[in-house]
């Protein structure tokens, strides 16, 4: 149908009339956002033509005979508008503004969608995750990410437990996570995707493989950037939620702006708590009796509680002459996490091992558009403070999965001979870090077509470790490593052929300095002196992202980057505690990343809206860093080195978004990939323990005026599918016994509903996670929570 329409459009465009002119102009929304995807219909005597506005709300209609026309503007989200215009010049400009339909929730949704679509068509392989809907539901930030195409999270248990993020198959140190462009490592684990509620987040940008210059870090496989709330309108939001496993969560955020002076106060806070005492069972969930005889049981996790508290307070000026935003403030956070087991679930659960972390940081934000001259924008975002982490494992008392003390083969209660819950021995390790990070950017718009951006990120970590379970003498001789990174990037953005072609070319320059302080005795052994070793390394990377709109609804996107991962301090200097020695000549890992995508849409037909996007990707890492040989157990010391090894991730992902009449939404996405390593002997092996095929789908349906007038009920359904994968490399075609290494196929379904009360100040949400109580695993043997219920009450007020 649509193609017919396009065809007609072209056909009509090529018709020649005696005296013709052009209509062009820009359509805005009442909130000043450009109105994209608006149907512009020009009707006259024997004349009919329609076009759709582009991402900037602009439209252009050529070769129209001089006459008087009625022009209609309508879209799914605005009130229809009709104006009458007489065309009597070669070019006639029509600028208009449309009223949004009166629904507050959708209003926000639509505006953010505009920005989202803009980002998603710049050429990068990027997904913008909206948090608006999630923030009123019982949805964690991590769950939002996990339902995004190409993103896979692997969590070692319930709320607050360790998570590994994977983008298109690459994970771990290959992926960088930022908060407002500042590496999240600066904030520490207490202020993380585990603890920050979606209501504090404006949106989340997921860049796959190719990371724009303004977000520079040494990430090989992509970046996740959490954009915190940026608005400058006075508002207040608060929510409380309670649910299964004694999970209680509260969050609040608000902003107050004095209209006259522009003085602004912003505050937000969160509190999360869960016992995580969900039920698990399996071959290692046993109670042991005399002689070690085992009985399989279903157990509740009993040492898995999580608590996190945090907040941010900022004040300054917004929307004043000298600054769009100038804010200073503090960020504080604190968390506590009990650890139930190690990387695997064994027959010996932990009780008494826990982690604590806290951070206190001062922050500064300065944003100004048209600084000094028009088109010159600057932004500065800085953090300075300290963060601490404690690993506490000092009790040797053995517990059974029943939660009671365990008995040994004779029937006596006992303690582990290694003196702690983990087999690695007792620890009370304090890791204190002083952290600083500052990110600054300057950009200049020469005109609508050309823009130049210069960015710089500095981050420094000054780390000190002390283990209270280890003597001071040993602590004294523990080496310390400080790491300083400076990353410069220069980007050029091109916008040509009426917005059809967009390109972003960037270069990144990485400078890394590692300082290693190794204490030694002076010659007479009376004093400890510090031997300092220093390593300075510089590397360059570059990339290109481009998009071309072949048709208004058909955009091709391609991007590539030579990405760099700098060697870590341990890889450069080794760690005698781990029996690794220094390798001062180690090189970074380099990856050549490619994305090629097509975006169809948005197609609007009557009340239907459809967007389909696909992306083909490839990541090619070389000079992989690893150990010489993982071989001889009796070898005393090993060294990190670059190997002639390559890792390749290739795959396809696709997403379909469908909306109907603004009250039905359907999203479906899938990701399929292969991850291989070519080892030093030139043999290609499939990398095991990698989820290769995932599907996610979500359905939203909204009903107005249920129970009360002007109320709204939203119903949600989400499903997550992950195909079976093996912890070990694929076995032969006829082998048996490999099933015990399989992470089984999973199909988890969630249901939720939210009810917006008539005045829209209160929203009540109810969610059921894992409705059918399926056994869920992200990692071998580590079971995740079963069916769970949550209820949440939100209060928000936007007008004082």
């Amino acid at each position: 149908m649509l193609f017919v329409r396009i065809f007609i459009f072209f056909f009509l465009s090529s018709s020649v009339f005696a005296q013709t002119g052009d209509f062009f102009g820009k359509v805005k929304l009442s909130n000043n956002e450009p109105a994209m995807d608006v149907f512009v219909i020009v009707k006259g005597d024997h004349f009919y033509k329609e076009v759709i506005t582009d991402f900037n709300g602009e439209f252009y209609i050529k070769s129209i005979p001089f006459n008087t026309y009625k022009i209609q503007f309508h879209s799914l989200n605005t009130i229809k508008k009709e104006i009458t215009v007489t065309l009597n010049t070669k070019k006639k400009e029509i600028n208009t503004s449309l009223e949004l339909t009166k629904n507050q929730l959708d209003e926000v949704k639509i505006t953010s969608k505009t920005a989202e679509t803009k980002k998603e068509t710049e050429g990068f392989a990027v997904n913008i995750i909206k948090t608006k809907e999630a923030s009123i539901r019982n949805v964690q930030t991590n769950e939002l990410l996990n339902s995004t195409v190409g993103v896979k999270l692997r969590q070692n248990g319930g709320l607050g437990s360790n998570v590994e993020y994977s983008l298109n198959g690459l994970s771990g140190r290959s992926i960088s996570i930022f908060i407002d462009g500042i590496p999240i490592s600066v904030y520490g684990s207490s202020f993380s995707l585990n603890s920050i509620p979606p209501s504090m987040i404006e949106n989340i940008e997921v860049y796959k493989g190719v990371v724009p210059g303004h977000l520079a870090d040494d990430a090989l496989g992509g970046a996740i950037n959490i954009v915190m709330k940026k608005g400058v309108k006075t508002n207040l939001n608060a929510s409380v939620s309670y649910g299964s496993f004694n999970t209680f969560q509260a969050s609040t955020n608000g902003l107050y702006r004095y209209k006259n002076s522009g003085f602004t106060i912003k505050a937000s806070g969160f509190y999360n708590y869960s016992d995580n005492d969900y039920k698990i069972s399996g071959k290692t969930i046993v109670d042991k009796g005399l002689g070690g005889v085992q009985t399989l049981i279903t157990a509740r996790r009993f040492n898995d509680a999580y608590r996190s508290t945090g907040g941010m307070l900022q004040f300054g000026y917004t929307d004043v002459k000298w600054a769009d935003q100038f804010l200073v403030g503090i960020t504080g956070s604190d968390d506590y996490k009990e650890v139930q087991h190690g990387a695997f679930v064994n027959t010996t659960p932990y009780k008494g091992r826990f982690l604590e972390s806290d951070a206190l940081l001062t922050n500064l934000t300065y944003l100004k558009k048209d600084f000094l001259v028009k088109g010159l924008d600057i932004n500065v975002n800085g953090l300075y403070g300290k963060r601490n982490r404690v690993v506490n494992d000092t009790t040797a008392i053995a517990y059974s999965w029943t939660g009671e003390r365990a008995i040994d083969y004779k029937g006596d209660e006992f303690e582990y001979i290694w003196g702690s819950q983990s087999e690695n021995g007792p620890t009370l390790l304090n890791i204190d870090r002083k952290v600083a990070s500052i990110r600054s950017g300057i950009s200049y718009n020469f005109n609508k077509q050309h823009k130049l951006l210069l960015n710089h990120i500095y981050s420094g970590v000054d780390r000190e470790d002390t283990d209270e379970m280890v003597s001071l003498l040993e602590n004294t001789f523990q080496q310390t490593s400080d790491l300083y990174k400076n990353i410069f990037s220069l980007s050029y953005e091109l916008n040509a052929f009426n917005n059809k072609l967009k390109a972003n070319i960037f270069g990144k320059h990485y400078r890394q300095k590692v300082l290693n302080t190794s204490p030694e005795w002076n010659e007479s052994e009376t004093e400890v002196i510090e031997a300092i070793y220093e390593s300075n390394k510089n590397y360059n990377g570059y990339g290109l992202a481009t998009s071309y709109a072949i048709l208004p609804n058909l955009t091709v996107l391609a991007s590539t980057e030579k990405a760099v991962r700098l060697p870590s301090e341990t890889e450069v200097f080794g760690d005698l505690g781990d029996n690794t020695i220094a390798n001062l000549t180690i090189k970074p890992e380099i990856s050549h990343n490619y994305n090629l995508g097509v975006r169809f849409g948005r197609f609007n037909f009557k009340k239907h809206g459809l967007v389909i996007s696909t992306n083909l990707f490839s990541r090619n890492i070389k000079d992989l860093i690893g150990f010489d040989i993982d071989g001889w157990e009796n070898d005393e010391l090993v060294q990190y080195a670059n190997f002639d090894k390559k890792s390749t991730s290739k795959g396809l992902e696709a997403q379909i978004d469908y909306t109907y009449n603004n009250n039905l939404g359907f999203n479906f996405n899938f990701s399929k990939l292969s991850l291989e390593t070519k080892n030093t002997a030139g043999i290609t092996v499939d990398v095991p323990n990698t989820p290769l095929f995932t599907l996610n789908t979500s359905l939203r349906y909204s009903i107005k005026n249920i129970l009360q007038k002007n109320s709204r009920l939203n119903l949600f359904y989400n499903a997550y599918f992950t195909d079976e994968f093996s912890y070990i490399v694929p076995q032969g075609t006829n082998t048996v016994g490999q099933e015990k290494f399989l992470i089984p196929q999973q199909f988890i379904q969630d249901f939720g509903c939210s009810y917006t009360f008539p005045k829209k100040k209160f929203v009540l949400s109810f969610d059921v996670k894992n409705i059918f109580d399926e056994s869920a695993y992200d990692n071998l043997s580590v079971q995740k929570p079963g069916r769970a219920f949550y209820i949440k009450l939100n209060y928000s007020i936007n007008k004082f």
């Binding site: 071959k283 070690g292 695997f344 010996t348 021995g425 040993e474 004093e527 071989g631 076995q731 032969g732």
Partner: protein, 454 residues
């Protein structure tokens, strides 16, 4: 040719089937070779360690496959555990043990979720290993990556050991000032567990500190790893192999270049597992904890123990019935083989005191996996001789890393020899005559290796 192999396979299958049904009447007598009576046959279980991400690392799973001893000796038979085997439950290379008659395989998972869990299987031929008895875990006593072996007491007992160490410092009553702190010693607390292999239950567990001499401790020496518990001939003592490490007493940092002390063994009472003493050899100077395969064997009233990382090349040391090293027994592999830096990777004597030994030495070329070409030798504990077995087609990529299994059937010893990623064969040596028989072909998988026959 293909047809022939298939026929032999079919024969093997029927033969195996026949064994299982030895008492039943429906055995087709026509298919049993009358010259090899079924009663003399036993199972030979072959294990392969699949490549994880680098050739020869063995981290991709341990696969086992059983054939009859006749088939094991038959070079026209071809065996492919990597395609047709049973994947043993162990995250890293499993440490397997077999009953003396080869009919049962014992396994304790090494690392991972099932780490420390004991399972046993009845060998039924091919990939069929039927789990019998209940599971029991020793992880609470010796951790999830236990160092265990089966004792030679008629397949009754397995034993696993563990050591944890702690550096002890005198802070001179000034806990905040490190400059007057002095290193005292490093304590080594050992744990020993014995496991009833028949009834799948824990028999005994003891844990205590094992000190070295005051002088050794003052210099920073300590027992950092123990392994390979072995029963003496009287069955009243257990010998446990040990590795020593050393710290610099001034900084408590690991030392790497230091004087290697005489080889040490911890001797404890059996079955009480108490009263530990440490005995020291004046002949050998390396570690006695071995690697994956059993490192010490009882023969003719004494226990013969290999050492590793000896500056003079590996020795086979002798511990007499008085539970002391016999320092008059000097069996140095460098001397016996005429090489330097001999390193015993795995070995096993038959009941006649003659056995097979896998070794590499300083002159070994580095192969695909970078661990040095390995060789086999026939050793004689009485004559103190070692002769390289020349019948095996050595190759730079043939390395016996993680090698652990020699199946002993009378005077005959079965073992596997294959280069990493290449096909190889089972070999059978008659230790009395030295005659080597090339047995069944072993089909390999890319980057993988064979780790023994049981």
């Amino acid at each position: 040719m293909k047809q022939t192999i298939l026929n032999y396979k079919a024969l093997a299958f029927v033969l195996a089937f026949g064994l299982l049904n030895a008492c039943s009447d429906d055995v087709n007598d026509d298919t049993i070779d009358p010259e090899t009576p079924v009663e003399d046959s036993r199972w030979i279980t072959i294990a392969g360690a699949k490549m994880g991400d680098e050739p020869g690392d063995g981290n991709g799973g341990t696969l086992i496959y059983a054939v009859t001893s006749e088939d094991a000796k038959d070079p026209t038979i071809s065996i492919n555990p990597f395609e047709n085997g049973f994947v043993a439950p162990s995250n890293r290379t499993a440490r397997l043990q077999a009953s003396e008659d080869g009919s049962t395989i014992f396994n304790i998972s090494y690392a991972g979720d099932t780490g420390g869990i004991y399972t046993k299987y009845t060998v039924e031929g091919g990939q069929t290993f039927t789990q019998t008895g209940t599971e029991v875990s020793i992880s609470e006593y010796v951790g999830t990556a236990p160092r265990w072996i089966k004792l030679f007491d008629g397949d009754q007992t397995g034993s696993a050991v563990y050591v944890s160490t702690e550096h002890q410092i005198d802070d001179n009553d000034t806990p905040d000032d490190a400059t007057d702190d002095t290193y005292l010693r490093t304590s080594a607390t050992i744990g020993i567990v014995t496991l009833d292999l028949v009834n799948s239950s824990i028999k005994n567990f003891q844990s205590y500190e094992v000190p070295l001499s005051d002088e050794e401790e003052a210099n920073g020496y300590y027992i950092s790893r123990i392994d390979m518990p072995t029963l003496n001939a009287a069955g009243d003592k257990l010998y446990i192999g040990a590795r020593l490490s050393k710290v610099d007493p001034a900084t408590v940092e690991s030392d790497s270049d230091y004087e290697i002390l005489g080889s040490k063994t911890i001797v404890v009472d059996y079955p009480s597992l108490l009263n530990a003493t440490v005995i020291t050899s004046s002949v050998g100077h390396g570690n006695t904890n071995g690697y994956r395969s059993i490192n010490a064997f009882e023969y003719n009233g004494s226990v013969y123990q290999a050492n590793q990382s000896d500056p003079e090349g590996s020795y086979i040391l002798k511990i007499d019935a008085d539970n002391q090293y016999d320092d008059s027994y000097d069996f140095n592999l460098d001397d016996a083989l005429g090489v330097t830096g001999a390193y015993i990777l795995a070995w096993r004597p038959a009941a006649n005191g003659k056995g097979v030994l896998a070794y590499r030495h300083d002159g070994s070329q580095e192969g695909l996996a970078g661990r040095g070409e390995s060789f086999f030798a026939l050793v004689d504990l009485n004559a103190k001789t070692a002769t390289k077995i020349e019948e095996i087609p050595y190759d730079v990529d043939m390395e016996m890393f993680q090698y652990q299994g020699f199946a002993v059937d009378g005077n005959e010893i079965y073992f596997t020899a294959a280069s990493v990623g290449q096909n190889g064969n089972i070999y059978v040596i008659d230790t009395e005559t030295g005659v080597v028989t090339k047995g069944a072909e072993l089909e390999n998988a890319e980057g993988s290796h064979f780790i023994g026959a049981w």
